[in-house]
Symmetry: C2
Subunit: 589 residues, 2 copies
Amino acid sequence: MSVPALAALRQELARQGLDGFIVPRADEHLGEYVPAAAERLTWLTGFTGSAGLAAVLADTAAVFTDGRYVLQLAEQTDPKRWQQLHVTEEPPPAWLAQHAPNDGRIGYDPLLISEEGLARYTDAGLKMVAVERNPIDAVWTDRPAPPSAPAEPHPLAYSGRTSEDKRADVAKVLREAKQDAAVLTDPASIAWLLNIRGGDVPFTPFALGFALVHADAATDLFIDPGKLPAETRAWLGNAVSVAGRDALAPALAKLAGKTVRVDASGSPVWFAQQLLKAGAVVAPASDPCLLPKACKNTTEQQGAREAHLRDAAAVCRFLHWLAVAAPAGQETEISAAEALLGFRRQVDGFRGESFPAISGAGEHGAIIHYRVTEESNRPIKPNEVYLIDSGAQYPDGTTDITRTVWTGPGQPPDEVRERVTRVMQGHIAIATAVFPKGVGGAHLDAFARRALWQMGLDYDHGTGHGVGSYLSVHEGPVSISRLARPVAIDAGMILSNEPGYYLPDHYGIRLENLLLVQAADLANARKPFLCFETLTLAPFDRRLLQPALMTRAEREWLDAYHARVLRTVGPELGGAERDWLSAACAPFG
Amino acid sequence: MSVPALAALRQELARQGLDGFIVPRADEHLGEYVPAAAERLTWLTGFTGSAGLAAVLADTAAVFTDGRYVLQLAEQTDPKRWQQLHVTEEPPPAWLAQHAPNDGRIGYDPLLISEEGLARYTDAGLKMVAVERNPIDAVWTDRPAPPSAPAEPHPLAYSGRTSEDKRADVAKVLREAKQDAAVLTDPASIAWLLNIRGGDVPFTPFALGFALVHADAATDLFIDPGKLPAETRAWLGNAVSVAGRDALAPALAKLAGKTVRVDASGSPVWFAQQLLKAGAVVAPASDPCLLPKACKNTTEQQGAREAHLRDAAAVCRFLHWLAVAAPAGQETEISAAEALLGFRRQVDGFRGESFPAISGAGEHGAIIHYRVTEESNRPIKPNEVYLIDSGAQYPDGTTDITRTVWTGPGQPPDEVRERVTRVMQGHIAIATAVFPKGVGGAHLDAFARRALWQMGLDYDHGTGHGVGSYLSVHEGPVSISRLARPVAIDAGMILSNEPGYYLPDHYGIRLENLLLVQAADLANARKPFLCFETLTLAPFDRRLLQPALMTRAEREWLDAYHARVLRTVGPELGGAERDWLSAACAPFG
């Protein structure tokens, strides 16, 4: 497939007068999951990883990805046609600057790259040319149709606030910033603002589309009208105009003389370009829905609690199933993930997974973004470490949980127990943290690592990410990470707490719960303080812990957490499962 | 004095065709301590605080300072002539934008403000005009002469590296960055680079001057030649040219066509302006001496240990003296600070204080930057909290220590003990931290606050600052603070560890030691890790601690620290002092 694809693309580039072209793995929303119609990188190169970019010149071409996908890139692409490169070791702008002809015209699709992303190419001295029509689309004859899943109302019982209310708030933000309108390109922002959900991409229940919010709260939604059943159209109300994707460019052109807010890092650069061409003033600022969406209201908070409780029953059933099955060694990474999915399918309101489960036994657990395939699948063996990171979508909330389990029947080595204990201490340090309002994720991250650092250990990922409310399991703008954006953590946010440790070729450890940020009620406080409420309810494998290494306060926290799990989840379970949970939640002696 | 001064300045402004003028509290090096000849703000307004700025217009004028000096500003300046304003509540650029005539020409002395500082005024839409000669200097008839303390060699026994060596390293950095030269405006950088020390300002032993380092390591020093005795001139060697301050502008003019590195935040904007006028290319980048100066070599590290040990003997003598004197209530904040200075004067190599001691009893301890005066001085009473923050300069090292003491003879209230214990826990959390190379001070700061935060308590200052080697007690570029610059902590840096707690109108707590960053030797580490060696040696007041609130590991750290203090400092002390130290360093039961 890739031979005619690359040749056809080069012909089209020549036709358009381009010396080169970049093909990011991206759709028009710059989202994490892209529909089949936007899988241009896969069509061109064969590579299916979730992060990558191809750069095509007349006589050479390269595909770039990160450390997660280096092996997959080598397997899926033809080395005769594609140089296979590591994106940070040889960044695409530098590669192009070296290989492109002097003053060569390098094409890019302005709908598939942000202003900040494009700047990396122009900063490298490249002459970047925005294409009118993506040259791949011109030659991709069997391109799938865009997705057309129906969008449905997200009722007040789950959203907690009317769309009218939310739009009034966003409009107020725009007026205060002296902006006439804001461009929304993130379908999650539109889903939140208009209280609708959809099914255009896997794992994240939104409908692909764009919107303009005006300073008077009127909102224009640009979406395939076929995705809006009459009930949903009625739900949107009269203050929301609806038009097809084709109406977007003319609508932007009408904003001449207006000041329009555009997110320079999150939105395709096409929007700023269109607005400037139309004579509008572009005000670069973050998506105005980001912060209010991140701070869940009390209805969403209560929904999250209930979704987590129902999800916990499935997770605990699975952990019981695994405790019974694993020592026999007859299950595999795939069969275990399917078993968990099977338990979740029985849960009220289950709408699907919130991301592809990571099911890694032994050495596979050490691959942080491992995704089991038929080829990589291996048995879960007795007496090894097994890691499973999974989550679900429910209309009242999104879940994400990682547990690390010893398969038994023997006892784990002391080294493994010591390291799991260090990760557990980091998890508890985050779960119990109290901090003043204004603190960001970069300031809390070290709490999760301190116990590991003392041993010269660490993990090469962030400690936590934001989570949506029946929306994306990876939601901005706040995270717990040294690289976190300087945005303050605030009440109502949901964040993951997932420190880990990975010994390459041996095993991986990750202990993840979701946290809800709450105001802390402290008698002495002279300013607002915040703390975390743990939402996730499932036991940590006590066989992997060394209580003697923990402080008394840490053991007390874990005992109290397990008592809470037993008290809340126990009544949802049957006989053998409940007996197992009782034992799993027993306090330390 | 201020009446004729302001009137004379306004006449001079009219003569120079200016509608206004800004007078920052600054000298040409933008340093912390300024010589009398640069105290233009005091001459003009009467205000003597260490941070402030005056803005003068034809018919109105204002002085701005921060929260530390609001009361002092009101006492020292005439409200009929000066609006007295808080610098963050009403920033000078906003005030000028509101009060200056439209298109008014606002003068500034380009030697007294950085490029970043100036940008705040131009960003506010003000028409800022660089003056050729500071209009205050034109009318300040009794202006003191510039300081002329002799500069002396800083021998290899203290500096550990030849200037030749250091200049070769800096030159290599310039060549790698494709820069032809660097402007040095920080006298501390020059002192480090050329291995000289001076006495032009109080507390920091450097000689005021400027330098140009070229990419071939040749260095031009611009300094009053009268400050260089023959011995120092010989010590500098032939690769260092020396010329007076007047030769600086012509030397910059000769850099036409060259790329010259200038620190946009730390250097006066005058340098970039002169270079641009001369046709040079200005490369904005940090002072190339900052990082190598911050990372002390092994000689400097050993010097710091020895200086701290000698300083500790004086501090312990003082603490003994205080333990005897305080319960009687006959001493004052001033007499105590003088007693400590008296003990330090007996120490080998004592060259002076490293900053004005903060000696605060009771409610004065809650004023973070309290500086006792004859007016504010008060007795140190029995049964209260007393805080003393002080430091010294020795040729082998700079010290900075804060202790918080209960004056006795009674017992402190439980609330005070609990809060001191929380501060102590934060201090220990920093002292015992282990962390990978690459971590910055913003990531460690929360360790120091965690125990306070859990109670809803906090302190409104950073946790630690860099400290020089017989140089400035406040040294960049690294600090431990949420607002720390994103510079990684590295081996050889000296940082303070000074969490605190302040109950306004009652008492202040601060527990400060200096730390030396060391490579951590950890068996499991797959990357470089760092840890801290505590340099400061003096007991913490155990009467103010509640050991039951501390973890076993925390108690063990404190016991080990006290044992080390007794073992190392004890032999330096006489009978009664030594007996007192033994008791003060006794382990927890």
